[in-house]
């Protein structure tokens, strides 16, 4: 299978956004102009506990950075990956080993091998989707900048 849409199920994405609290971001950069930093900043702002996983960083967005997923000393809900596709199978194995609930691969991080490893380990997989954009689509305010959320609903949201 080489179809990324099988890993873009709106139902799974919304369930993960609502039920997750801890997001380990693999490849999170301290450079505030990098996409990973935008996503980490946004996730923290919206109440997720962001755990940086990047051997090149000491601390990102005020949180200690760990050299690998296995080194993270607490449970992780979502493993969000900003790495080259070739690194994904190894990260997926670690994600299974640490008992994460989901493997989330950002735009362009396409690895069917990694996805298979995660699925076989019982994880949900999201591929070629941005954690920030999906949050902004369903829960946040992506619509205020004229983007197409594809959400049709006549319900009044209660905050």
């Amino acid at each position: 299978m080489t179809d990324t849409t099988q890993y873009q199920d709106p139902e799974i994405i919304q369930r993960l956004l609502h039920s997750s609290r801890t997001v380990a971001i693999v490849g999170l950069s301290s450079n505030h102009l990098r996409a990973s930093n935008f996503v980490g900043f946004y996730a923290a702002r919206h109440g997720y506990k962001v755990i940086p996983v990047n051997p090149r960083e000491e601390e990102v967005l005020g949180n200690k950075s760990y050299p690998s997923l296995s080194a993270v000393p607490e449970p992780v809900d979502v493993v969000d990956v900003f790495r080259a596709p070739a690194a994904v199978p190894g990260i997926a194995e670690e994600a299974v080993a640490v008992g994460a609930k989901a493997l989330w691969l950002q735009f362009g991080v396409i690895s069917f091998e990694g996805a298979d490893i995660a699925v076989n380990g019982g994880l949900d997989v999201v591929m070629d989707r941005c954690f920030k954009i999906e949050h902004a689509r369903y829960i946040g305010r992506m619509h205020v900048l004229g983007f197409n959320t594809d959400v049709v609903s006549a319900r009044r949201e209660v905050y």
Binding site: D9, G146, R155, V158
Partner: protein, 434 residues
């Protein structure tokens, strides 16, 4: 809050024309989309303000750059068009110039159809001079002409789905392939078709521009424009450092790297709209949203009436030609492919008898409004040789595809029988010297 995630469902065009971009306003529950008549927005705290200006968070800052009523229109239009988003502007011309300004730099080259709205031709020539961009016009029906016009500096191909006023139909898929092979985007003005009749993105176009003033608004009340992006174009392919490289106009932000498929629209809004300032008013956006709710209903009637009138004209001896795309053998296959629901409602016909006949004809009608617009619920009529093109002699008119006796109609949603009755009065007036 967790009961929101339901099994996925794909909503139809009519449903989305009413509901896309119109989730109920949470603090009041207002069902109609409120008109946010405000210049600016109070920030929650300094951190939020900073996050909005840094584009780290989606939020409102100032209505020159974004406004919730305008955003509803942008989301609805991009949803109907199959795009990832849109940016609205004060007019179609403002939208088009901003779309080009965002991706062109001095020394670039642009290839455009020669069969465009006259205002667009004027704008492209003006932009070309001011931006030092080379401009080549090609016959849009000649695919080899598009390919031959390409240079190493070519940055965009530009055409209209249905040409104004000659009714050329663009082979969108074929021209999109030429653009794709060259690593550049195809930009299409889809004003005459609207997303109900044709969605250029589905055929490979990258950017779609609109005069929202026309059929989208549909009632001739307001001026507005919009740019819709497919989100599919790879701005990091080496041809567009202006989009991909660190931007000096936004603290060295790399728009494509940071926002992916949303990068072009973010740049269009956060830099071009911010700096050129042609923002749509929230009141106009509200009227356009009202218009979009009935777009599919109106368009079915527009195209049905237009074809009925065109066929009636085609049977008359005193009409030398009816230039409705669906009646032109040259375009039948393209109409069937790209415009199966109808080839729009704006077309020309040629009167025997030249300029005087044209002017007499206009004097004879009373239901058709004599004015320089198209895409209104009301039927509209104009004689180009004595109005929009009156400075041209017969030879120059011919070069523009307009005869001395050419009449342009924009067919509205009245009763077709009444429109035909009114046109009969026009024919009866010819030669009466009144």
């Amino acid at each position: 809050m967790n009961d929101e995630f339901k099994p996925d469902h794909t909503f139809g065009f009519h449903t989305r024309a009413i509901h896309a971009g119109a989730r109920p306003e949470p603090s009041t529950g207002a069902r109609a989309i409120p008109i946010y008549q405000t210049s600016s927005y109070v920030f929650e705290d300094p951190e939020s303000a900073a996050a909005y200006f840094n584009l780290q968070e989606y939020g409102n800052t100032y209505s020159r750059i974004m406004n919730p009523t305008v955003a509803s229109l942008e989301e609805r239009l991009s949803n109907l068009d199959g795009g990832i988003g849109a940016v609205a502007f004060a007019s179609g011309m403002a939208a088009q110039s901003a779309a080009l300004f965002t991706l062109l730099t001095p020394g670039d080259h642009m290839v455009a159809s020669s069969a465009l709205y006259g205002g667009t031709v004027t704008q492209l020539k003006h932009l070309s001079r001011k931006l030092a961009v080379d401009l080549t016009f090609v016959d849009p029906d000649d695919l080899s002409a598009w390919r031959k016009a390409l240079t190493d500096q070519t940055k965009i191909l530009y055409a209209e789905t249905i040409g104004n006023p000659a009714g050329n139909i663009l082979d969108i898929e074929a021209v999109a392939v030429i653009a794709k092979d060259a690593g550049i985007p195809l930009m299409v003005d889809n004003t005459f078709a609207t997303p109900y009749l044709c969605r250029p993105i589905e055929w490979g176009a990258d950017i779609v521009v609109y005069s929202v003033t026309k059929f989208l608004g549909g009632h001739g009340t307001s001026i507005g424009g919009a740019v819709v992006d497919s989100g599919e174009f790879d701005w990091s392919n080496g041809n567009f450092p202006i989009v991909a490289d660190p931007s000096p106009a936004y603290h060295e932000l790399e728009f494509h790297e940071t926002f992916g498929g949303y990068g072009y629209l973010m740049k269009l809004r956060a830099e071009t709209l911010r700096d050129l300032g042609g923002a749509m008013s929230p009141f106009n956006a509200f009227l356009f949203l009202q218009g979009l709710e009935t777009l599919p209903l109106r368009m079915d009637r527009h195209v049905g009436n237009a074809l009925a009138v065109a066929k009636w004209l085609g049977e008359r001896d005193d009409v030398s030609a009816v230039r409705h795309p669906a009646m032109n053998p040259k375009y039948c296959a393209l109409v069937a492919k790209y415009l199966p629901k109808g080839a729009g409602a704006v077309f020309c016909f040629d009167l025997e008898g030249g300029r005087e006949a044209g002017q007499d004809f206009i004097r004879g009608t009373r239901l058709f409004s004599h004015l320089a617009n198209v895409g209104d619920a009301k039927s509209l009529i104009i004689h180009p040789a004595s109005t929009t093109h009156r400075q041209l002699n017969d030879e120059e008119l011919a070069a523009a595809g307009i005869g001395p006796g050419t009449i342009r109609l924009s067919i509205g949603i009245e009763d077709a029988d009444d429109l035909i009755w009114d046109l009969e009065q026009g024919f009866a007036r010819i030669g009466t010297q009144q």
